[in-house]
């Protein structure tokens, strides 16, 4: 256990959760003292936690505006989408070439579980989705690729919460996932890559539409 305060770690987890689940909205001002009261921590661990979150690009500190939750800009979204489409596509191709039997059993178990989750339980659904993307990354058997994907996935988590309540996106997504795993199992890299690219791309398309609609 690091000498980093246990309270800092706990405060970090709690605030990160609040940002990702949009309890703290993009662009919202952050009041250290209010957070300290609300979460029942000292101000020091809160301050330390915010520093770590700034490092994660979830908090921005500006001299003029103070501390606030990072905004989601359409420009940023485009950049993020470009990288993820590229990386996730390549990952799916590699997974189709390299996946072992155990990897495929894991993917199938996840698909199976996702099918059983009711549409309303978005939190559970989202967790399985994350695990499935992780499982595909693991099946590509390149840990650098896995680590990079995890970073970009972290940045995209907030977008999920933005999109989920607004769209009936889930059932189609489950079908896409199933097709994707099937093509990996059939050792068809082209098809796997193709499905993944369109899957990620359409996700960002929806997010883009929603943000445009809100800002326009």
């Amino acid at each position: 256990m690091q000498l980093i305060g246990v309270d800092t770690q706990r405060a970090y987890d709690r605030i990160r959760e609040m940002i990702i689940s949009l309890v703290l909205e993009p662009g919202a001002l952050v009041d250290e003292h209010a957070l300290a009261d609300q979460l029942n921590f000292g101000v020091t661990p809160i301050r330390e936690a915010l520093k770590l979150l700034a490092h994660d690009n979830l908090i921005e500190v500006s001299k003029h505006q103070g501390i606030y939750v990072s905004r989601i800009s359409t420009e940023d979204l485009k950049l993020l989408s470009e990288v993820r489409v590229l990386l996730e596509g390549a990952t799916a191709r590699m997974a189709a070439q390299r996946a072992k039997e155990d990897d495929i059993l894991v993917m199938e178990a996840l698909i199976d579980e996702q099918k059983g989750i009711p549409e309303e339980d978005k939190r559970a659904w989202f967790e399985i989705d994350h695990k499935l993307h992780q499982a595909i990354a693991a099946a590509a058997h390149n840990r650098y690729l896995g680590e990079s994907l995890e970073y970009y996935f972290g940045l995209s988590q907030r977008l999920w919460y933005l999109v989920l309540p607004k769209l009936k996106y889930l059932s189609r997504s489950v079908e896409e996932h199933a097709d994707l795993v099937k093509s990996i199992k059939e050792r068809n890299p082209d098809k796997a890559g193709e499905i993944m690219v369109s899957h990620v791309r359409s996700f960002y398309q929806k997010v883009h539409e929603i943000i445009e609609a809100e800002q326009g």
Partner: protein, 664 residues
């Protein structure tokens, strides 16, 4: 350098026992105890007691504290009271029929165990392919009903491949903590390994919460030092290791006491008797080391593969309840109560009642008048909502403590057992007080921090009921205590349980009784213990004086013997161990040896020649334990490597790195 007080190496030792939490502030280099404090253990949340005790230790400059070390009965208690978390145990390649025919399934320590195909044989070859599909199916089914998972595969110490694959797959589909059998034990006993893995899994969050709580108190007192946890064999591990292997803290309290006894007395060979509030623990010190049980520690009814001090714990301590049975025989323990001297000091009304008790007629007296219930803390409403009697009980106890007959009368019931108050006791909402050896020690002016007069009234009332003189009752109680201690000493040292011998009127009982009482007119018997006894814990002097005389040996009470446990928590060495197995790889036919496997806890490699395999294994285990000890905070670790043959062509290389904590 310019100021000698600035370069002191101070360490803070904490022991959380069944009754008391002790802390000492110690100068590590001079062995000087600078401050010490005792506080009641808070079982519902150990952190409260630890916070209380650290807050009362005087600290000049927190920067001088270079290490904090804790020993704790947390793991042992959690198992004994079934308060560990719910665990799903996955058994790979185990034979269900074999397990059930030997009734070994009760050993697993969890009711949720499942069998799957897979496992390896004695040569590390796959016995059956791993049924990962069924494992994943089961995980999906149970993952919301358990808090942690344990996986143990047949012969996994020789080849952990199936455990590792199961880990990979399970951790990809759920976030529960997962414990693997081969990481905890290299012994081949498959049931013990599974039990150890399941117990470890059940303790993960318990110990984690505990460590976090201690760290919080440290932060509040601005102590920025490494935190160590005592293992069951008395060695130390960093908190980082402890949160992964909580099962290794089983019996760490008694082990710490024994090491503290050695540290404070400087005696290398002795029998250590640690008399606490609830229990008395026995351990043997030989050549300066606590003897370790080779069999693996027992905890409750479970046999584990955990290395721990060889010790015996009996339910007798300063706060053991003294009472009688229906026949009027004197009984003591194993239940622990709050001494009446203490309760009276808090509530003068109790003292007054005890005084009146000495004056009532014999017909009306009953030992139940000496048992009080009292309120420890206000319950949260939910804890009580299930019964009117419990609510009423809390209401009357809120006013003042009540003796048992009063409670029955006020609640209009025949006996207090009708209340069903067990949970209120367990949650430490209400407590029980009674007549104890601690009260006798007050009367005899051996220990008088609380109300001496009240203790005397209690003894008078108890004697009144027994129709005996108080002096006679005192003598009988100490005689009984002496007998219980001697029985434990003889059983522990000889490894022969005396209780059966003593229940029958044979020669064994004759020798034992005559060694104590010298009753026979013509033939005497005597016991002679080869070592001195080191007495530890507050009541040690009173409890052990007579027994050491009977054992014809010296009773040594080192300075600060009352807090030897907390001293011992700091006195152990940091230790890291690793075992590597070398075993033959067989040809397809199984007839020829075509190479050797070297299996460590994280890797399996293949060699053609035995000599190269052994050489590599020695180097690997040396490097591993040395660097892990440095990482854990040891200074100049010393590595000891033991090799032994274990079956045909199979070798075990056991490496241990020991080092004193690096304090700067």
């Amino acid at each position: 350098m310019n100021n000698s007080t600035q370069s002191r190496n101070l360490v803070l030792g904490i022991d959380t026992g069944g009754t008391y939490t002790d802390a000492v502030l110690l100068d590590y280099d001079t062995h000087q105890v600078l401050d010490r404090h005792k506080s009641l253990t808070t079982k519902r949340d150990f952190a409260i007691g630890i916070g209380n005790v650290i807050d009362r230790i005087h600290i000049d400059d927190p920067k001088e504290i270079k290490m904090v070390s804790v020993s704790t009965t947390l793991a042992t208690n959690a198992i004994a009271e079934s308060k560990g978390k719910r665990v799903g145990l996955f058994l790979i390649g185990y034979d269900p029929e074999l397990i059930s025919s030997f009734k070994m399934s009760q050993q697993f320590s969890t009711p949720n165990y499942y069998y799957f195909d897979g496992g390896h044989d004695l040569y590390g070859a796959e016995k059956k392919p791993l049924d990962l599909k069924s494992i994943l199916e089961k995980v999906k089914q149970i993952k919301h009903q358990v808090d942690a998972l344990a996986v143990s595969s047949y012969f996994s110490p020789l080849n952990p491949e199936h455990e590792n694959r199961a880990y990979q797959a399970i951790s990809s589909v759920c976030d529960l903590p997962i414990v693997l059998g081969h990481q905890l034990s290299t012994k081949l006993g498959s049931v013990e390994r599974a039990t150890t893995a399941a117990l470890n899994a059940s303790l993960l969050s318990v110990l984690r919460e505990f460590i976090i709580a201690v760290r919080r108190v440290m932060e509040r007192r601005k102590i920025a030092a490494p935190l160590m946890v005592v293992r069951g064999d008395g060695t130390l591990m960093s908190d980082e290791f402890a949160v992964r292997t909580p099962v290794e803290t089983i019996h760490s309290g008694p082990a710490a006491s024994a090491i503290g006894g050695h540290f404070l007395s400087g005696i290398d060979n002795a029998l250590i008797l640690d008399v606490g509030g609830t229990t008395t623990d026995l351990a043997l010190l030989i050549d300066g080391k606590v003897t370790i049980s080779e069999k693996g520690a027992m905890v409750s009814e479970y046999k584990t593969a955990v290395k721990a001090a060889d010790l015996l714990s009996i339910g007798l301590g300063g706060d053991s309840h003294i009472r009688t049975n229906r026949e009027g025989d004197l009984l003591i323990g194993p239940e622990r109560v709050v001494p009446l001297a203490y309760l009276s000091a808090q509530y003068p009304k109790v003292k007054h009642q005890l005084h009146n008790l000495t004056k009532i007629s014999w017909q009306k007296s009953s030992p139940e008048w000496l048992e009080y219930w009292y309120l420890i803390r206000e319950p949260e409403s939910m804890e009580l909502a299930d019964s009117d009697r419990k609510r009423k009980l809390v209401e009357i106890l809120r006013v003042s403590p009540r003796a048992i007959p009063e409670i029955s009368k006020e609640l209009g019931i025949i006996h207090v057992s009708q209340i069903g108050a067990e949970e209120l006791f367990r949650q430490e909402i209400i407590g029980k007080a009674g007549f104890t050896p601690t009260d006798l020690m007050h009367i005899q002016e051996q220990y008088s921090v609380w109300d001496v007069e009240a203790a005397r009234y209690a003894l008078d009332a108890f004697s009144h009921y027994l129709l005996k003189e108080p002096a006679e009752v005192q003598r009988l109680v100490w005689e009984l205590i002496n007998e219980i201690i001697l029985e434990a000493v003889v059983s522990f040292v000889t490894e022969i349980s005396l209780s059966e011998e003593l229940s029958a009127p044979g020669i064994g009982a004759w020798f034992f009784k005559n060694a104590i009482y010298q009753r026979h007119p013509h033939l005497g018997a005597a016991l002679k213990l080869a070592y001195p006894v080191i007495g530890l814990g507050g009541p040690a002097k009173m409890f052990l004086d007579a027994s050491t005389r009977t054992l014809h040996t010296d009773l040594v009470l080192p300075e600060h013997y009352q807090v030897a446990n907390a001293v011992g928590a700091t006195a152990g060495s940091i230790m890291v161990s690793e075992e590597v197995l070398i075993y033959p790889k067989l040809s397809e036919s199984g007839l020829d040896v075509i190479g050797y496997f070297v299996q460590s806890s994280y890797d399996r490699l293949e060699y053609q020649e035995l000599a190269t395999a052994l050489e590599f294994a020695r180097r690997l285990s040396h490097e591993y334990v040395y660097s892990a000890a440095i990482r854990s905070g040891a200074a100049n670790p010393e590595v000891i490597i033991n090799e032994k043959m274990d079956g045909i062509d199979t070798y075990r290389i056991f490496a241990q790195a020991y080092g004193k904590p690096r304090l700067s």
